[in-house]
Amino acid sequence: MTAKNLRADAEGGQYLSFLVDNEEYAVDILRVQEVRGWTPVTRIPNSPGYLKGVLNLRGAIVPVVDMRERFGFPVRTYDPTTVVVVVKVLTQDRERVMGLVVDAVYETYHIAPSDIRPAPEVGTAISSDYIGGLAAIEERMVVILDIDRLMNSRELAVEPALVD
C-alpha cells in the first residue's frame, strides 16, 4: 500500500478493489462483510446464468452472482484465486447479503470524495447506471460500483409484492 493511501484523510472512505477480466472495480469497504474462497453453490431453477446459485453462509442462504457474466465478460473457469466477496446490499427497506464472484481481490484504497469523478456516459464496459464514480489511482482507473443499484437490477430485483 502506498503512503498516499495510508494517509488518514478526514473525508472519504476506504474501498476494496477487485479484478474482473483485468479491470479493477471497487466497493465501499463498509459494505463488505467478508471475502471467502469459491465453493460450489446450489443452482436456482430458471435463473439467469450470472446468478450462480445460493450458498450456505453460516446458516444464512446467500445468492451468489458472477461479476464476469453479469457484465458480459468471457467466462473463466474458477481457480484457487477466485473469490466471493460477500456484500451487504440495501433493498427497499431491508438489507440483503449477497456474494460477488470475482477473479481476485486486489487492494484497499482510501479515496477522498474530491478524487472521485462522475461516471462518463460511454466508454466503460458496464452500464453507467451501476457506476458510482471513477477514481484515478497511480495511473490506473478504478471503477467504483454502486452495488445497491447493480444488485437490485434485472432478475435480482425483488418484485413488488402484488406480482405473483
Binding site: T42, N46, V54, N56, G59, I61, R96
Partner: protein
C-alpha cells in the same frame, strides 16, 4: 425532564393483551365468592389502567377505571357476582381490547358500543343497575349520580415506604377537605416500640369521614398517585345508619406458643395484614404474663383477641396466619349475621365488642366461650393439627398459581431463531468432523480411539441440543384452547343452546408459528359444531339426549403431527341434505353413487353451505373450503367423521412446526431437491404401458384408474443433462387441493427432516420453491413448494386432458 416512553409501549400493549386474556378466562370460570379469581381480574385491570395513564391512552384509562371500580366493589363484596354482570364485564374486556387496538394501530372503534358498555358499568357501580343489559333506559353516567349517600368513610393505610416516594398524606387530606367537611382519625395500631421505630417509615393509618355527597371517583382521583402504595377502603354511609350491608364480623383469638418470636415471627405483621382485610380491632390479653422475675424475655406470653369486620371469608383470615399456624392456637369464629355498626365504623374506642362477651377473660373463660361458638370442625382448645389441615388447602392454591407464573420468561423469537441457526451450524460442523474422523479410523493409535469416542458423544449432545432448541419454540396448545370457553359462551347464548365445552390434551405442544395460524380455522370448526352440529335443548330432549350438548376439543400427538379433534354429540351430518345441496349447486352429478364418507367430504367443496338461514356465525358460504384451504396451506389436513344422530368429529392434522419439514430427497441432474412428504401420494417407477403420449414431450400417466399430468422437473427447471427417457424414470405423485401431478425425477434418495430457511431473506421468492435447507455436508438443497409448482408447471390443457380421460375411463368401467 422528559423520558421517551414510546419504546415501552409495545411491552405495555403485549402485557395488556395478555392481561385481557387472563381477565377473560378468569371471568368465565368466576364463581360468586371466589376472591382469588376476582383479585386476579382486578389486578389485570389495574395494571392496564395504570399503564394507559402513563402512556397517554386516556380513553382506555378512563374506561378501565370504571371497570376497575366495579371489580373493586365485587372484591369488597359490595356488589354481587351475577351472570349478567359477568357478561357485562366480558363485553367490557372486548371494549378495552378494541380501544387498545385502535389506540396503538389506529382504526375505528365502535364508539356506540363502548359508550353503551361504559354506561352500563357506571350504572352497576352506582347501584341502579338495570335488569337486562340491552335495556337502554338506564341513567347516563354524568347525571350527577351520587352513590355516596351522605358521605364516605375512608380507611387509608399507606405502605411504610409512602413518604420515601415523596408523597404526603397531609396534602391528600387537604384536598379531600375541599370536597366537604372532613373528620380525621389517626390509627396508631401499627406503631412499633420507640426503639424499633424507623423514622423514615410510615406506621400510621387514618380513618377519614367525609360528610359530603360526592361520587367515589372523585375521592379515588385524589388518591390516584398513591393507590399502589396504600390500602384504600371506601365505604359510603348515610346518616343514621352506619356500616356496610355486606361483610361480617369475625372474632379471632390468637394464642401463640411461647417460642413464637424465636422463629422470627412478628404478631404485629400479622395484624397489619389482617387490617388489610377490613376494619380490625386488637385487644391484648396479658393474663398469662408471669411475674417480672420469672419472665424470660425471649418467650412470648401474650394472647390477643381481635375483631375483624370484613367481607372476607374464613379462609382469607387463615391465609394470613398460614406461616404461623403450627406455632399458635388460632380460633376464628363468625359473630352473628349482622355486623356490629361500631366495629365497622369509626375506631370507636373501647365499647364492648361482641355481644357483651368479656374480652379480657381468663384463659379458662375464653375456652369456655369457645365451646359455644366454635364451628364443629375446630373444637375449643383444639389440637393444632385440626386447625392446620383446615388452613392448608385454602392457602396453598394461590401460592401454586403464582409459582407457575414466574417460571417462564419472555424471549424475542428472533433470538430463538438465531439460536436454532447456530445449533444448525454446530450440527454441520459435527458432521464434517465425523467424516474426517472416518478417514482416521484405520490408524492404530490410542488417541484416535479417544477421538472417535469423543466425537460420538459430541454427536449425541448436538442432536439433543438441536431437539431442545426446537422445543423452545413449542408452546402448549392451551394458548389456542383458552379462547374457546369465551367463543362457546357467546355463541351458545346467542343460539339459545346449552353447551358444555370439554378440553383435553391442553398441554400438547406445537410450534408457535403453527399456533398463530390455526386459531381461526379452529374457531370456525367449533362455531360450526355449535351452529349446525348441536340441536336446541328442546330437540335434544325429544330424542332422549341430555339437554346440554357437549363439544370436545382434544389434542394429541401422532407420529410427528398434532391432531386436534373437534367432536360434538349433536345430530351428525345430514347426508341427504348435503347431497341434495351439492347436486343443486352442480358440485356433483345427480346420478353419482357416493359412499357415506364421500358425501361427508362434500362439505369441504368451495361454495358449499347448507345453512337454511345465513347467520353471522357460520353459513356464509365461505365455510369449510376456506378452513380446509387454510389448514392445507400449513401442510395439514382436515377430515370429518359423522354418525347420524350421534354427532360428528372433525380431525385437524397439522405438522408440529413450520420450521421443519419431513422431506423426500430427489436428484435432478447434479442437484438435490426436497419434496415435502405430506404432499407425496406415492412414488412409482413408470413403464411404457402407464404412459399416454399427447404429442410433443407432453405425457399423461395412468395411475390407479385416473390420468395424471406429468411434469419433467429437469426440463421445467432448465437444468442441463440428457433428455429424460420417461419410461425409465421415477415418478413422484404429489397432490395439492385435490389435484394430483406426476413429477419426473432422476433418482430417489433418502428421507430426512429439513429445517426450512427462507430464500426471501437475502434474495426473493421463487415460484415453485418453498425455501432452502442446509444439508449435512454444509451444502444447500431447495425445497419444492407443491402448490406453487402446480401453478407454474401445470399446463391447463394438460390438466383438462387428464380429467377428460379419467372421466372417460370411469364411464367405460
Amino acid at each position: 425532564m422528559s423520558i421517551d416512553l414510546s419504546e415501552f409501549i409495545p411491552v405495555f400493549l403485549e402485557e395488556s393483551f395478555e392481561g385481557l386474556d387472563t381477565m377473560e378466562s378468569c371471568l368465565l370460570e368466576l364463581q360468586p365468592g371466589d376472591m382469588e379469581t376476582i383479585n386476579t381480574i382486578f389486578r389485570a385491570a389495574h395494571s392496564i389502567k395504570g399503564g394507559s395513564g402513563t402512556f397517554g391512552f386516556d380513553e382506555v384509562g378512563r374506561f378501565t377505571h370504571e371497570l376497575e371500580t366495579l371489580l373493586d366493589k365485587m372484591r369488597n363484596g359490595q356488589c354481587e357476582v351475577t351472570p349478567d354482570r359477568v357478561a357485562l364485564l366480558l363485553s367490557s374486556v372486548d371494549c378495552v381490547r378494541s380501544l387498545l387496538v385502535s389506540a396503538s394501530e389506529g382504526g375505528e372503534v365502535d364508539r356506540s358500543q363502548v359508550e353503551e358498555v361504559e354506561r352500563q358499568l357506571v350504572a352497576v357501580v352506582h347501584g341502579d343497575e338495570v335488569s337486562t343489559l340491552a335495556d337502554s333506559s338506564a341513567s347516563a353516567p354524568d347525571e350527577g349520580v351520587v352513590d355516596g349517600g351522605d358521605g364516605w368513610r375512608i380507611r387509608f393505610t399507606p405502605d411504610p415506604g409512602l413518604l420515601m416516594s415523596g408523597n404526603d398524606p397531609m396534602l391528600l387530606f387537604r384536598e379531600l377537605a375541599l370536597l366537604g367537611p372532613l373528620e380525621i382519625n389517626l390509627l396508631t395500631d401499627a406503631l412499633p416500640a420507640l426503639d424499633n421505630l424507623d423514622p423514615t417509615e410510615l406506621y400510621l393509618a387514618w380513618e377519614l369521614t367525609l360528610s359530603a355527597a360526592v361520587d367515589e371517583t372523585s375521592i379515588r382521583e385524589i388518591f390516584e398517585w398513591v393507590e399502589d402504595d396504600c390500602e384504600l377502603i371506601l365505604e359510603p354511609f348515610t346518616a343514621g345508619t352506619t356500616g356496610a350491608e355486606s361483610g361480617q364480623t369475625w372474632d379471632i383469638t390468637l394464642r401463640p406458643d411461647a417460642d413464637f418470636l424465636v422463629t422470627g415471627n412478628d404478631p404485629l405483621l400479622l395484624f397489619r395484614e389482617l387490617a388489610e382485610l377490613g376494619a380490625l380491632q386488637v385487644l391484648l390479653d396479658s393474663e398469662n404474663l408471669p411475674a417480672l422475675d420469672q419472665l424470660d424475655p425471649v418467650e412470648l406470653r401474650l394472647n390477643w383477641h381481635m375483631t375483624l369486620h370484613s367481607a372476607c371469608s374464613e379462609a382469607d383470615i387463615r391465609a394470613v396466619f398460614d406461616w404461623v399456624d403450627d406455632q399458635c392456637e388460632l380460633i376464628i369464629t363468625p359473630v352473628g349475621g349482622s355486623p356490629n355498626p361500631e366495629s365497622a365504623g369509626t375506631a370507636g374506642g373501647a365499647q364492648p365488642l361482641i355481644s357483651g362477651e368479656p374480652i379480657s377473660s381468663a384463659p379458662a373463660a375464653s375456652e369456655a366461650t369457645g365451646d359455644q361458638i366454635l364451628p364443629p370442625s375446630a373444637p375449643a382448645g383444639a389440637p393444632k393439627s385440626a386447625v392446620k389441615s383446615d388452613t392448608k388447602p385454602a392457602a396453598k392454591a394461590p401460592a401454586g398459581r403464582s409459582g407457575a407464573d414466574s417460571s417462564s420468561i419472555r424471549v424475542e423469537t428472533g433470538k430463538v431463531d438465531a439460536l436454532i441457526d447456530r445449533v444448525g451450524e454446530l450440527v454441520i460442523t459435527q458432521a464434517m468432523l465425523a467424516q474426517v474422523c472416518e478417514q482416521l479410523s484405520d490408524i492404530d493409535h490410542p488417541a484416535v480411539e479417544q477421538l472417535l469416542a469423543g466425537l460420538g458423544q459430541l454427536e449425541r449432545n448436538t442432536r439433543d441440543l438441536q431437539e431442545d432448541v426446537m422445543r423452545v419454540r413449542m408452546l402448549p396448545i392451551s394458548f389456542v384452547f383458552n379462547r374457546f370457553p369465551r367463543v362457546v359462551h357467546d355463541v351458545s347464548s346467542k343460539l339459545g343452546k346449552k353447551v358444555e365445552l370439554l378440553l383435553k390434551g391442553e398441554q400438547t405442544e406445537l410450534d408457535k408459528t403453527v399456533m398463530e395460524k390455526i386459531g381461526d380455522p379452529l374457531v370456525h370448526l367449533v362455531r360450526n359444531s355449535l351452529d349446525h352440529g348441536l340441536e336446541t335443548p328442546a330437540e335434544r330432549f325429544s330424542v332422549g339426549k341430555p339437554e346440554t350438548g357437549q363439544v370436545l376439543l382434544n389434542a394429541y400427538h401422532e407420529g410427528g403431527y398434532i391432531v386436534i379433534d373437534i367432536s360434538d354429540d349433536g345430530r351428525g351430518l345430514n347426508r341427504d341434505k348435503i347431497l341434495g345441496k351439492a347436486v343443486e349447486k352442480g358440485l356433483v352429478s345427480a346420478d353419482a353413487n357416493l359412499a357415506p364418507h364421500e358425501i361427508d367430504e362434500l362439505i369441504f367443496l368451495p361454495g358449499f353451505s347448507t345453512a337454511d338461514q345465513v347467520s353471522d356465525l357460520s353459513g356464509r358460504g365461505v365455510g369449510m373450503d376456506v378452513v380446509r384451504r387454510n389448514i392445507e396451506s400449513l401442510g395439514g389436513h382436515v377430515s370429518v367423521h359423522s354418525v347420524p344422530g350421534e354427532g360428528s368429529r372433525f380431525s385437524v392434522r397439522l405438522p408440529l412446526t413450520l420450521a421443519i419439514v419431513d422431506g423426500q430427497l430427489v436428484r435432478l441432474g447434479q442437484d438435490t431437491y426436497i419434496v415435502p412428504l405430506v404432499s407425496i401420494v406415492e412414488t412409482i417407477k413408470a413403464s411404457d404401458s402407464m404412459l399416454t403420449a399427447l404429442g410433443g414431450s407432453r405425457c399423461l400417466l395412468r395411475f390407479r384408474g385416473e390420468y395424471l399430468p406429468l411434469v419433467n422437473l429437469r426440463e421445467l427447471f432448465e437444468l442441463d443433462g440428457p433428455p429424460a427417457d420417461i419410461a425409465e424414470h421415477l415418478i413422484v405423485v404429489v397432490e395439492n387441493a385435490g389435484q394430483k401431478l406426476g413429477l419426473i425425477v432422476d433418482e430417489l434418495m433418502g428421507q430426512q427432516q429439513a429445517v426450512i430457511k427462507s430464500l426471501e431473506v437475502n434474495f426473493k421468492r421463487i415460484a415453485g420453491i418453498a425455501g432452502a435447507t442446509i444439508m449435512g455436508d454444509g451444502g444447500v438443497a431447495l425445497i419444492l413448494d407443491v402448490a406453487g409448482l402446480m401453478g407454474v408447471a401445470l399446463d391447463p390443457e394438460l390438466a383438462s386432458a387428464a380429467r377428460r380421460r379419467s372421466k372417460q375411463e370411469g364411464l367405460d368401467q
